[in-house]
């Protein structure tokens, strides 16, 4: 995975969040390029040199050159050696001094630079850095200087983040799930479609990567929901056949008042006239002699 991130050259943008910090992946990439024999210049604005070098072997550490903007970036205390032109001047000086193929420039972090410098100036400097290859002679294969930039994406609006993304050849967005880190990688190869891939990994204390399987939750996605027809198992019909419709139309409903009904009510038939009610009280029936409506003043 590290090889593919470093293959294209140019700007590699690492976008991290508070929960999934990207500095350890940045250090893994630094280790990788140091092992390739490159000199690594680090523009450190967020952590001290000791903290940054922590965890690297001595042979890697001797390939790292740390430009310390952590202790006194704004020149508040006058006693420390200051960089007169600010961090960008250091970058420009670096790009002039060294042949691009042998050096990796690490910006820790782009967020700090974005908060303190205008976005356009920063983008122009980064663009100039990655355009260095145009000056090299035409016979050699084109090699771009590697720039690794760490960006805390919550700190910036969509505008500056978008501007930096458009400059980047490789974009890595860190996230995670269930305690495992994942990187969504976007590679912009020249004259090809950009490719997307997602890798799950953990970073070992010696800054090597341990690629992992996709966590269980994602590897067994929910079975695809088959579209069930809700009308299959109904206890009633939704439509009527022609015969059924005729039967329904010919039916007279009980509340419909027709002339036959009226006749039947006005002239009771012979069966009704002869009917009687027979009432035989129970043996233990408590018959009340009093008139139940006695209290009503009728």
């Amino acid at each position: 995975m590290l090889d593919s991130l470093l293959a294209l050259g140019g700007l590699v943008l690492l976008r991290d969040t508070v929960e999934w910090e990207g500095r350890s992946l940045l250090k893994a990439l630094i280790k990788k390029s140091a092992l390739c024999g490159k000199q690594v210049h680090i523009l450190g604005c967020e952590v001290s040199e000791e903290e940054f070098r922590e965890g690297f072997d001595s042979d890697i550490n001797c390939r790292l050159i740390y430009h310390d903007f952590f202790r006194d970036p704004l020149n508040w205390s006058k006693n420390v050696k200051a960089f007169p032109g600010g961090p960008l001047e250091v970058l420009r000086a670096l790009s002039k001094r060294t042949p691009p193929s042998s050096v990796t420039i690490v910006l820790d972090s782009l967020s700090w630079l974005l908060l303190h410098l205008p976005c356009t100036t920063l983008c122009q400097t980064l663009h100039a850095l990655s355009q260095q290859d145009s000056h090299s002679d035409d016979n050699s294969p084109v090699k771009k200087v590697h720039v690794l930039g760490l960006l805390h994406e919550e700190l910036h609006g969509p505008g500056p983040v978008g501007a930096l993304c458009s400059l980047a050849q490789t974009e890595v967005t860190l996230s995670g799930m269930l305690g495992q880190m994942s990187a969504h990688i976007l590679l912009r190869k020249p004259q090809q479609r950009p490719t997307h891939q997602t890798r799950w990994f953990s970073i070992l204390p010696d800054f090597s990567l341990n690629l992992q399987q996709v966590p269980a939750q994602e590897s067994h996605p929910d079975p695809p929901i088959t579209q069930v027809d809700p009308t299959t198992h109904l206890t009633f019909n939704l439509r009527l056949s022609k015969k059924e419709r005729e039967a329904k139309d010919s039916l007279t409903l009980p509340f419909q008042f027709s002339s036959e009904k009226q006749q039947a009510l006005l002239h009771p038939g012979p069966g009704q006239a002869t009917s009687h009610i027979f009432y035989e009280p129970d043996a233990y029936d408590d018959l009340d002699q009093e008139d139940p409506d006695d209290d009503l003043d009728i």
Binding site: E46, S48, L74, W76, S111, L155
Partner: protein, 266 residues
């Protein structure tokens, strides 16, 4: 100091870690109990403490401190505690002629100034002295709270610079600790506060986030606390990176329990 919180953080005053920045963050609740915890914790740990208190008066912190078993008055007399009382000092900025810049000098400046005078005050307060007296273990800077600085007109980037300078001076140079409180307004419109909160989050080693319950006020569960360890690079320690507990604040202590396991519920 709340022993239960120490257990959760796996620490005691005797073996407090050094060189760390702890961010306390509260959303929809009052996270000041965490400030009181860390104040009494570091006073008990025999550290030299500089407390930049911008929210409450000295007597308030003193009264709460006494409940937790520390006397701020005594600590101040012994030289262990340097208490910067923002509420009183802010008045001095206006009504007292001063030769050297006041820590809250930015209040007098028309344009949004930086916090360099405040940083210099902190640096002076925690400067190691060879007086031959009692030696303190390590310096600690406590700020209650950084969001107030935004309300006083300082830009978020200036506050972040202040935090970075303090980190360089206290955490890195003197191997001390920093604890700062930032409110989470939960309001996406408040961009400055978001930048401050996220910026300090990215700088910190440990984040304690106190949140009110989503379901609203409850008599027996006052909120939930999320503990997030950042920059953990030892997979050997089988500790979770993030833990969430619910808590209930009592008179002199705070009890923590797993979510949904409040004694009042069970």
């Amino acid at each position: 100091m709340f022993p239960e919180l120490n257990n959760l953080l796996n620490t005691t005053p005797e073996r407090a870690e050094q060189g760390k920045l702890t961010l306390l963050c509260d959303a929809k609740t009052d996270g000041s109990f965490l400030v009181h915890h860390f104040l009494s914790f570091y006073l008990k740990a025999n550290c030299k403490v500089c407390f930049v208190a911008l929210v409450q008066s000295f007597s308030h912190y003193n009264i709460v401190g006494q409940k937790l078993g520390v006397s701020l008055t005594t600590a101040r007399e012994r030289g262990q505690l340097v208490f910067f009382e923002g509420l009183k000092s802010s008045v001095d900025v206006f009504f007292q002629a001063q030769e050297e810049p006041h820590p809250l000098q930015f209040l007098r400046e028309t344009s949004a100034g930086d916090l360099r005078p405040l940083y210099e005050f902190v640096q002076e307060a925690l400067k190691p002295v060879d007086s031959g007296e009692v030696t303190w273990r390590c310096p600690v800077l406590l700020v209650d709270d950084l969001s107030v600085l935004l309300s006083l007109g300082v830009g978020a980037v200036s506050v972040l610079d202040f935090v970075q300078y303090c980190r360089a001076a206290v955490c890195w140079n003197q191997k001390g600790n920093m604890v700062v409180l930032v409110h989470d307004s939960g309001d996406s419109e408040d961009e400055d506060n978001d930048i401050l909160l996220n910026g300090v989050s990215h700088q910190s080693h440990l984040i304690l986030r106190a949140e009110g319950l989503a379901t609203g006020f409850c008599r027996d569960v006052h909120g939930q606390l999320t503990i997030l360890w950042r920059k953990l690079l030892q997979p050997t320690t089988q500790r979770e990176r993030s833990l969430t507990y619910q808590y209930k604040i009592q008179d002199k202590t705070v009890s923590f329990f797993a979510r949904g396991m409040s004694p009042a519920v069970l």
